[in-house]
């Protein structure tokens, strides 16, 4: 059965400042208003959404997180969230009453080795996550790992899979980095060729373990609409109450392109914002077909998130980094 999910950014606050993470995603002090959350819960089901996933910032830092867990499970949605794990010893007891609705927790693991993970995420992060994972194992809470591939951890992919399986994870999802100026100054990104190499390793890893190993959308594919947001199976809402085209794009682009922001739930009804998203999605699909049919696709455009970043003008800043291998691939007007 195909689930349709709402991905909700609860806050842009975070206790960490990971090297690969966009500053505005973690350095703020804004939280999604509970009234907006309530409206989402009231309306999402009418449009066929049955699953809620929390993200952030660090979602567990939303002051109403516990209340939101109750709201979401009382409203009958299945839910899950992605977390850095630091806060888990404090919140896990609040999760347990809703375990019948909790499909799983995703922990962000960015290195098989403690020093690699902590290099990206800060000291003690690895051990804090291992504490969170230990609790999940004892309390029988399902969990998976999410890994963003960077130059720091690309040599540990196989080790990561072994670690995840040994720890009792239900799966491991690798995803490409969405670059921004900070990741470029720190040389975290991979070139198109390096991305393809890592993908080849991951596709091979898939058959080596019983645990599912997948790649998040963004890998090289000739499928023009390969992901849940483009199939309208996943909608993102940011902490300001904006419905956006995709959480991967949210906040990126140094304020040049903002067309991914579809409508704000403080200003319009859910159904109106949803209607606008449907329109925007149709236009996106039409434009992509046209570009493809006109033979204008570059090889790099088969990395679908890269395509979106260009479409929504989120990579203009790369012109300041001419030595970056993606810089010459940015679309010209």
């Amino acid at each position: 059965m195909n689930h349709r999910g709402m991905l909700i950014e609860l806050t842009n606050r975070c206790n960490l400042s990971c090297h690969h993470c966009l500053d505005r995603r973690h350095s703020g002090d804004g939280d999604l208003k509970i009234e907006i959350f309530e409206r989402i819960l009231q309306n999402a089901r009418k449009h066929g959404f049955d699953y809620i996933s929390f993200t952030g910032g660090e979602p567990t830092l939303h002051p109403g997180f516990t209340e939101m867990l109750t709201m979401v499970s009382e409203a009958g949605y299945n839910f899950g969230f992605v977390t850095n794990g630091w806060n888990f010893t404090r919140i896990y007891e609040k999760l347990l009453p809703h375990s019948n609705k909790l499909t799983g927790i995703t922990f962000s693991l960015d290195g098989a080795r403690e020093e690699t993970h902590d290099r990206l995420r800060g000291r003690d992060s690895y051990r804090r996550m291992m504490q969170a994972v230990s609790i999940c194992v004892v309390k029988d809470v399902p969990f998976t790992f999410n890994t963003v591939i960077t130059s720091y951890n690309r040599g540990e992919l196989k080790e990561m899979a072994g670690l995840a399986a040994k720890l009792g994870s239900r799966g491991l999802r690798f995803g490409h980095l969405i670059s921004h100026p900070r990741t470029e100054t720190e040389y975290l990104g991979l070139s198109p060729a390096e991305r393809k190499e890592t993908e080849a390793i991951i596709w091979q890893l898939q058959n080596t373990l019983h645990m599912p190993i997948v790649m998040a959308s963004g890998y090289y594919t000739t499928d023009l609409f390969p992901c849940a947001p483009l199939k309208m199976q996943e909608i993102s809402v940011n902490w300001r109450g904006n419905i956006t085209a995709c959480c991967n794009l949210s906040g990126h682009g140094e304020d040049v392109g903002n067309d991914d922001i579809i409508g704000n739930l403080h200003e319009m009804r859910f159904s109106e914002a949803y209607g606008r998203l449907v329109q925007a999605n149709r236009k996106f699909q039409k434009d992509k077909h046209t570009l493809y049919n006109n033979g204008k696709f570059k090889d790099s455009d088969y990395f679908p998130c890269w395509y979106c970043l260009n479409y929504f003008r989120k990579v203009d800043w790369l012109s300041y980094y001419p030595e970056n291998p993606w810089s010459s691939l940015v679309w010209t007007k």
Binding site: T89, Y92, E93, E114, R127, M130, Q131, V133, S134, I135, V137, V138, K139, L163, K166, L167
Partner: protein
Amino acid sequence: MIQLNQHATPDPEVVVTELEGLEGKEAVLLHLGTKMYFTLNETGLRIWQMLNSGLTPEEISEQFLKEFDISPEKAKESILNLIDELITEKLVKVADGWSD
């Protein structure tokens, strides 16, 4: 077998997580090298904490008699058994000079 006057110390590669279990406090140990989990009940956790503060099995046993309603023989036996198990699982290391 560990002896009553030998020091055994938790391996720094072990991540300890204390949590509330059905029967009070408990803890999960996760060895970052072997990636194996090990659970401790409330008394096991006390033994772990005392090992961590450098007490020998003998000293732990004396402390146990103050904290729990248990005979000296039973205390020593369960403390030594648990420490032996922790050694087998590489969760604690015996101080230099020890051999089996």
